[in-house]
């Protein structure tokens, strides 16, 4: 295709502003307008761990082929933040464009001949047009939407509709905003040749798609799973999971007549308490979960081990952020994999689920509760900041009305009638899973939950044999888990190949795109995307089928590669890590380069 053609519906638009200035809604409008034009889009926030006054960026990738990972280049930069102007200018890719507020002269010393700089006097235009001081400031952020619309040829009608929708409550505001948009729009049209070669063009790429972030999808998933108790302690980037759960409960769980709430959300005093609340609620038979991030998992470690050993169903949602310690709370990583797999002291191991996008966040949230109750153990849903707080285009969420939750092996009074005597921890089915009863139902089902040594009857013990019996039975349960976690998704190259790629979670997009690029270079690869831990047979088979398996992940230490080494045999040495851990979402280029370089080095060697 022609050079220009190639830049239609394939570009990265990045907007640099100051946080707390309401630019979020303006950026959202651009994002949604492109989406409604039928162009596949992905929007990523890069925001500071601060409330007001610091630099923040929003990056929109539009791609007609549907590649949605971070592109790692910038075609159009809207530089609204003087503080970062220099950095933003430098970041524009050759041949790209930079739009800035030319009301004030930009620093002279900054020059680039390989890009086009477009000055729009946004503040000036707004100051002249609006009388109210507050409006003048607010509106310049809306005005750039107009300028960008003109430059990229974004459909103004769509923009208008969006304004009307978002201000449905207060229609008065529509006019003002529209005026601001037109200020930027008209100025651009009059002063530049619009549209730019880099531009948008209506297409039909978003049929059956929606825009959603992963945390909203998890909140919604927990509502659909029938969770009634949510416990949490606020922590970025997991806070919006509980915000969403609260919101969707308000929508769906208020009794039509009484207004009574069919849920109970407890803002705990800390993460240790949140974990205890989850255990207590699941113990009595209410589906309960807690969303948190790395530091929270560390603090919950003691309770997690308790839940493992006392066998209490529980769902822990970890929206991973950059560690270690407080790290970078507003940047993304996949760095809690090892911790969650073996959290707590003593011999412990826990099932994990790895959604790759918001749609899977929804599905796997439901799955997490089924697994937790079936296996009577803590289950971890590992998402991350990229999935959780960014705007994703995913297939519409679907629901099967015939679905019924798997509450696992629970005995009620009727069952107890049929049995001699109830004992809690004896494996009668050979799957390592034993039967439990719920408090409040029947004195014959009464037993004592404890994290201290207990025998197969649930009675306290310090006896070597009795202790060991229970611990070995838990390994049987672990084998059962391997069959219950969702299997990995495998996609094979058209051509046979000895090269395999393993990835999970938010690294998926980069791998999908990289595989096509590699194929174009004549390097076919097969791809296995992990969705759960422990690993099923299909994972081992895949590893055995290939000579070299690249493990792509977003942490420093190759944590998933470690799990593959630990839980498999005879494959450790064919695993090659491809790592990206600087806090930004992994781009396809990282995977392409990593694999190419490794292959090159092999040839060299």
């Amino acid at each position: 295709m022609s050079a220009t053609q190639s830049r239609v519906n394939d570009f990265v638009l990045k907007i640099a502003t100051v946080n707390g200035t309401g630019s979020a809604s303006a950026n959202g409008m651009l994002m949604k307008a492109l989406f409604r034009m039928g162009i596949p889009v992905a929007g990523k926030n890069m925001f500071p761990s601060n409330i007001q006054g610091l630099p923040t960026w929003y990056e929109i990738r539009a791609n007609r082929d549907g590649y949605m990972s971070r592109a790692g280049r910038v075609d159009i930069m809207v530089a609204m933040n003087a503080q970062t102007y220099k950095k933003d200018l430098a970041e524009v890719s050759p041949g790209g464009f930079l739009v800035y507020d030319s009301t004030w002269p930009r620093e002279r010393d900054l020059k680039r001949d390989d890009i086009t700089v477009l000055g729009v006097p946004l503040s000036k235009l707004c100051n002249e047009h609006f009388s109210v001081a507050r409006l003048r400031i607010l509106m310049k952020n809306v005005a750039y939407v107009g300028a960008v619309a003109a430059l990229l040829d974004i459909d103004l009608d769509i923009v208008r509709t969006l304004l009307e929708e978002s201000f449905a409550a207060k229609p008065k505001l529509v006019e003002g905003n529209l005026q601001a948009i037109m200020l930027g729009y008209d100025y651009a049209r009059e002063n530049f040749t619009c549209p730019l070669p880099v531009r948008a063009e209506a297409m039909n790429g978003n049929a059956g798609q929606i825009l959603i972030d992963g945390n909203a999808a998890i909140g919604l998933g927990c509502v659909y799973a029938g969770a009634t108790v949510g416990a949490w302690y606020p922590i970025t980037p997991s806070t919006s999971v509980m915000d969403a759960f609260t919101h969707y409960c308000e929508v769906f769980r208020h009794d039509p007549e009484t207004g009574e709430k069919r849920y109970c959300i407890v803002q705990a005093e800390d993460e240790l308490a949140a974990a205890g609340i989850v255990l207590g609620a699941n113990w009595v038979g209410a589906r309960a979960f807690t969303p948190t991030s790395g530091p929270g998992i560390s603090l919950m470690s003691e309770f997690i081990g308790f839940a493992y050993y006392a066998e209490i169903p529980s769902v822990f949602v970890d929206i991973q952020r950059v560690g270690p310690s407080t790290g970078m709370p507003t940047r993304t990583q996949q760095c809690d994999v090892m911790l969650c797999a073996y959290a707590s002291h003593g011999d412990t191991r826990h099932p994990m689920l790895f959604p790759a996008n918001p749609a899977e966040c929804f599905d796997l949230s439901v799955k997490a509760f089924d697994l937790a109750e079936r296996l009577q153990t803590p289950v971890f849903l590992l998402s991350d900041l990229d999935i959780g707080m960014n705007d994703w285009r995913v297939p519409e969420l679907s629901w099967d009305n015939s679905y019924r939750p798997d509450r696992g092996k629970v005995l009620g009074p009727a069952d107890l009638d049929k049995m001699e005597k109830f004992v809690r921890y004896t494996d009668t089915d050979g799957d390592g899973i034993t039967y439990r009863t719920l408090p409040g139902e029947d004195p014959r089902g009464a037993y004592f939950v404890r994290g201290s040594g207990h025998n197969s009857k649930g009675v306290y013990t310090e006896d070597a044999v009795e202790y060991q019996e229970v611990m070995e039975r838990l390994l049987v349960k672990w084998d059962t888990a391997k069959k219950l976690v969702p299997p990995a998704v495998i996609s094979r190259a058209k051509k046979p190949t000895r090269l395999g790629i393993v990835a999970y979670g938010s690294s998926d997009g980069a791998v999908v795109e990289a595989r096509d690029k590699l194929m174009a270079q004549g390097i076919p690869t097969n791809y296995l995307r992990l969705r759960g831990f422990p690993f099923g047979a299909e994972v081992l088979d895949f590893l055995h089928q290939h000579d070299t398996v690249f493990v792509v992940e977003q942490n420093r230490d190759g944590q998933m590669k470690s799990l593959l080494k630990l839980e498999t045999n005879n494959v450790a040495d064919k695993l090659v890590s491809i790592l990206h851990f600087n806090g930004l979402p992994i781009p396809a280029a990282c995977v392409v380069d990593g694999i190419s370089q490794h292959l090159a080095s092999e040839v060299a060697a």
């Binding site: 509502v223 416990a231 005093e269 699941n282």
Partner: protein, 351 residues
């Protein structure tokens, strides 16, 4: 430890409660605590109170942390589910249990180490949430199970068995709880069965977090001369600030009291807590008065017991949250899941 099967002899002519149950039906397994441990007397009081209240065993849940005191739940009502959690974290588990099933009667048993050291945060927030439970601290001023180190409730001047005197201020659970906003705070002594039984009943009836600080001497590590948590010291220095009487809905308030010296509190279920005050100008329904009274007597080295503060009007967790009256765990999946159509409708706004 609960492995020792306890013989339940059925004495002829034993009394049965409203449920037709004998007191022994409220017992648990044989205690493995030291002979004479105060905790065992508290267990006995719990058994009696629960039997007298005729609470159905399965409606009860017993929770605890870790410690000698936290073994208590194994020793009463074997027909109730028990949860021996981790050290200092009983309140959060109780919060979850009550969140999931608000019909359960929650009794949490803790120790001074369990609640005032490692568990101090959860202690404070169960109170702030006004979680509807009986929160009982078996307070002996030491860490019994780890062999007698001072706990945060050790009073300044109280000596360890080896002689060294504690010089730190003690965290007084009663004063602290009232200052933090507790709705029901009482103090008792493991050696005073009648008072304890009455307070336990009142605490269970109270629609919120009922905190009972029960001095419970550790005979092995803190019952010596010089200890301010010994049987002898407590007997000498305690005085009953209020004589508490719990009058269930059914029965009549018979006794006559001189005006001014009595406060009668009616609970939401119609039952009454009747308080006979030792000191006319002490008002157990006013935080300022209660704190002043408690601290005044602390300065004198006295230990006021009885119900020391109550505000039955403060809303408990579910009232605040507006949760459904029916326990959440009872809702059928159909009542919780919005279904496919709703999901489709919802997603229109996501395009």
């Amino acid at each position: 430890m609960t492995y020792i099967a306890k013989p339940k002899i059925n004495l002829p002519g034993q009394k049965r409660n409203a449920l037709g149950l004998l007191q022994r039906d409220y017992e648990g397994s044989l205690s493995t605590l030291c002979a004479g441990c105060g905790h065992d007397s508290i267990t006995a009081a719990l058994v009696q109170a629960l039997w007298e209240l005729a609470i159905a065993p399965e409606k009860l849940v017993k929770l605890s942390g870790i410690g000698c005191s936290s073994k208590t739940p194994a020793y009463f009502v074997s027909g109730a589910h028990g949860f021996n959690s981790v050290h200092g974290r009983m309140p959060s588990v109780a919060t979850g249990a009550h969140a999931g099933n608000r019909d359960l009667i929650c009794i949490g048993v803790s120790g001074d180490g369990d609640s005032l050291s490692i568990g101090f945060g959860q202690f404070g927030h169960a109170i702030r949430r006004n979680l509807n439970m009986l929160y009982l601290i078996e307070n002996n001023g030491v860490y019994g199970l780890t062999k007698g180190q001072f706990s945060a409730s050790a009073d300044p001047g109280s000596t360890a068995r080896k002689g060294a005197a504690n010089q730190m201020q003690s965290i007084n659970p009663v004063a602290t709880a009232i200052a933090m906003g507790a709705s029901f705070v009482g103090r008792s002594f493991s050696g005073d069965r009648d008072q304890l039984v009455a307070l336990i009943k009142a605490g269970i009836a109270h629609p919120g977090c009922a905190l009972l600080d029960v001095i419970s001497p550790c005979v092995t590590f803190n019952d010596h001369v010089g200890s301010t948590k010994s049987y002898a010291y407590t007997r000498e220095h305690k005085h009953e600030a209020t004589a508490t009487d719990y009058v269930p809905l059914a029965s009549e308030i018979t006794t006559q009291y001189a005006a001014g010296e009595v406060v009668s509190v009616q609970l939401h279920d119609g039952s009454h807590i009747v308080l006979k005050k030792a000191d006319a100008d002490f008002d157990p329904t006013k935080r300022s008065s209660a704190l002043r009274y408690i601290e005044k007597h602390r300065d004198r080295g006295e230990i006021p017991t009885g119900l020391l503060f109550i505000d039955e009007h403060w809303p408990e967790m579910h009232a605040i949250a507006g949760t459904a009256k029916r326990p959440l765990k009872e809702f059928a999946f159909e009542e919780l899941n919005p279904g496919r159509e709703a999901l489709e409708r919802l997603q229109r706004s996501m395009r």
